[in-house]
């Protein structure tokens, strides 16, 4: 019960901090002091108090886009086990619901982008749906590896793995899948090298360009959902790269938060030392992720 409450609190409160950590890391690399860790919270607070502007081209879809996305991402967050704790909701096949909730979010985000009638936002939407055609199969190949290895069809079962820890024979496929899923996570959360959240050139953006016309509380919801998405996909990945547990709930929760912050630092480091890929190269990167996850699966076939 307490674990569920902690899960919900972390899911709702922690995500904006991850953005703060990423930005702080980037600032340190650039030799700046950078915005405070809590800047994302201040931004959200500011946005939620503002008014909204609706273009005369838009319909209710434009308003529903960020909100349905928010609901879907939040529900996906309920399906993922955080650290060694079980997810609040778990049933056989919840991984399919997990993937399709992101699909629902994508449907409404891209439809809302097209609702404005702006060419920029259309471009962003087109890129989003194109790249997801590669990242979705990669995600499913990754899940197949985990499901085959651990014999469970729920995220909680297949991410926790067997009680005695990982057998040595699965390390190779798990490493491949971890790299593949890391790339998928970067693509889904629109980070460098797939997309640059700080760019100023609309022609080259993916996610940020789709929400150009959203303002006020709706823009706040968009930013908040994006950070929750990072939190959720990051916690899936942490099971593969850092499956540690201490047996003490308090220590385990602290370790989970620390691991998540470390992952944010890693993302920040990648963003600092890499440039965004050219748009034509992004499919190659995602195909690489697909091949990594697929190779992991082939290693398991006997």
């Amino acid at each position: 019960m307490i674990d569920t409450v902690v899960h919900l609190l972390l899911l709702l409160l922690l995500p904006p901090l991850l953005l703060g950590v990423i930005n702080k890391t980037k600032a340190l690399f650039a030799g700046r002091v950078g915005a405070p860790f809590l800047q994302s919270y201040y931004d959200l607070w500011k946005l939620f108090r503002k008014g909204m502007v609706f273009s005369s081209a838009t319909t209710w879809i434009f308003r529903a886009g960020p909100l349905v996305t928010f609901a879907a991402v939040l529900m996906a967050g309920l399906l993922v086990p955080l650290g060694p704790f079980d997810a609040p909701v778990a049933f056989a096949g919840d991984l399919i619901l997990f993937a399709y909730l992101f699909g629902l979010a994508r449907f409404f985000t891209t439809a809302a982008a097209l609702d404005t009638g702006s060419a920029f936002e259309g471009m962003g939407a087109a890129r989003e749906v194109t790249f997801s055609c590669l990242s979705e199969p990669a995600l499913f190949f990754g899940f197949l590896v985990l499901a085959k290895q651990y014999g469970s069809l729920s995220l909680t079962g297949m991410l926790h793995g067997p009680a005695g820890g990982m057998p040595a024979s699965v390390v190779a496929p798990i490493v491949l899948v971890a790299i593949g899923l890391f790339i998928v996570m970067l693509a889904e959360t629109c980070r460098i090298p797939v997309d640059d959240p700080n760019t100023h050139l609309e022609l080259t953006m993916i996610h940020e360009v789709m929400v150009l016309d959203h303002s006020g509380p709706l823009l706040g919801t968009v930013l908040y959902s994006a950070s929750i998405r990072l939190f959720v996909l990051g916690s899936v990945l942490l099971h593969l790269v850092a499956p540690f547990q201490f047996g003490d709930p308090l220590l385990d929760w602290l370790a989970f938060v620390a691991e998540l912050l470390a992952l944010s630092v890693a993302i920040g480091v990648i963003e600092s030392i890499m440039a965004r890929l050219r748009m034509r190269r992004v499919p190659y990167l995602l195909t690489g992720a697909l091949l990594l996850c697929g190779s992991g699966f082939i290693l398991l076939v006997r």
Binding site: A57, L114, G122, R127, S132, L153, D213, L300
Partner: protein, 668 residues
Amino acid sequence: MPLQLILAGILAALCSGLPSLVLPKSSAWGQRLSVLMMLASGAMGLLGAGIALFAPPFPDLGFPWPQAGNSLLGLDPLSAFFLFPVFLIGALGSVYGLGYWPIPRHRENGASLQLFWGFLVAGLGLLLVARHGMAFLLGWEIMALSAFFLVALQDRQAESRKASLVYLMATHVATLALFGLLVLWRASTGSFLLNPVGGDVLGLAAMNAIFVLALLVFGLKAGMMPLHFWLPMAHASAPSQVSAILSGVVLKMGIYGLLRFLSLIPSPPTSWGAIILALGALSGVLGVAFAIAQHDLKRLLAYHSVENIGIILMGLGLAMLGRSLERPDWVVLGLGACLLHVWNHSLFKSLLFFGAGSVVHATGSRQIEEQGGLAKAMPWTSLFFLIGAIAICGLPPLNGFVSEFLVYMGLFRSLGFEGARGSAAVIAAPALALIGALALACFVKVQGTVFLGLPRTARAGRATESPPSMLAPMALLAALCALIGLAPALVSRALDPVIALWAPEGAFRRPDLASLVPLGAIGTMSRFLLAAALATVLGSALLRRVRRGVGTWDCGYARPTARMQYTASSFAASIVDMFAFALRPRVRGPLIFGHFPGPTGMHGEVDDAILDRGIIPAMRGVGHWSDWLKRFQRGLIQHYMLYILIAVLALLCTLIPFGEILAFLSSR
């Protein structure tokens, strides 16, 4: 009793065209009476099918006709399951026709539409209750021919004529193969009756021949990938309610035929399931890839039927694999997915075709690029189309998600199977993920370009909402999509009897669907998702500080126009490029030279790989090489007399006793 109800429904449908035919074309009453008869037929048929699905089994209806083996017609849960969409779409489509194709405004063909619509529904019903090869063939031909007349309804348009001819040829190839199939069935089992045969009645060669013929007949009808070539054109050029029933119901008769014949054959080889699964995955991926490249709204939807038939076949292939490898859980999940997707597809595809019809009705164009911003003028059509789009993408919380969930669960189950065969089947899971992502891209394109944004043409700007007779059927279908999505536990009761019939308990115990899939949990999550989404959207309406009526910001561009919107082709371009190896797009322009290039344009088109690049060139080649036959056809009576003389001489030559002559010569 249920069979009598269904026969009454079939009879009512058969006669439903008469009032429209007899009463004067200037009055709307003929059509209204026809629609009333179709509604009565639908009510009787649905009631009968419902009783048959849930009530205990009952004997076939006997006819005193010994030659036919006395049982010509019968009803079992499999027939009943497929009868639901027939009578539902049959009734709803005729109601839709009241607004879409009123006889007073379509005097030249409105009455024949009603007539053949009734024939089509009757043929479908007869096909499903047939228990004898001849009755099956009769139903099949009534269905095929009335569908031809419906596709050829607007025969003043060249496009419609071409589509109906291609359809007629395809369907007659299927009928020819069906003759072969039934003759083979009679030869190897000794009867035309469609009853299960024992384990060793059929030899392996006969079984394989029956399978290949069945795949050809029913694959052609269902629009399975290499055999789908007739489908996009026929579905695009027919009136929209006809497209709806062709796509939603008639294609499913291919699936029904496969299910029926495969249920009759015991212990199928493993390769059958593998072939069906592979063809399903191929149809799924390529169907949606072709769909996304289309500019014509109804052609796009037609290619999506190919995709969904692929998903249905994936479920069927898994069930067949389960039967061969004795994995009852694969059978239950695969067959459950196959059947549920049959229902789901008939619901949301009919809904989408009705929606597309509304768009055509309002703007007079099927071209996606000529629409835009219709959501403001047509809020209800836009909402229902959105529901259909979310459902066909397989997204929660609607019905498409439930059946795709079953496919995934079945495929994931095969992970537990040791050895490469189980692992090979599971590769279809990422393929299904790819299909889902592509379908999403396609329907975002359609929804975004047709209903959202700004009107691209003046005609789209003047669009008005469709009449209630067109909206009501859409509302009902949308509600059914939502019902199956939000309460999936309900449908498992409808699926279990069919699964029990198809895979009777033999050597192994068969689990029921509800014990394999957490349908209750999916339903709870779907309801929760819907509640959360509605709560946030309605809650956001409380926010007060809103400014409306300004233009799109568009990064500060001062004078954006509707023509500057991202087009559907541009939206799809990068995906079309990704699949260029299969789609082979033809692109014209843009021609840009010099320092001050003049105005130019760009146009891309994707032909059907099989019809436009395979069959038509091949047939042209056959025609070319057959030209030399013409030299024998001079039109001179003397030549023909000569041919007759040569033929007679050749026949006389057979009387020459060559053998005796040779014997005589050799004895010398």
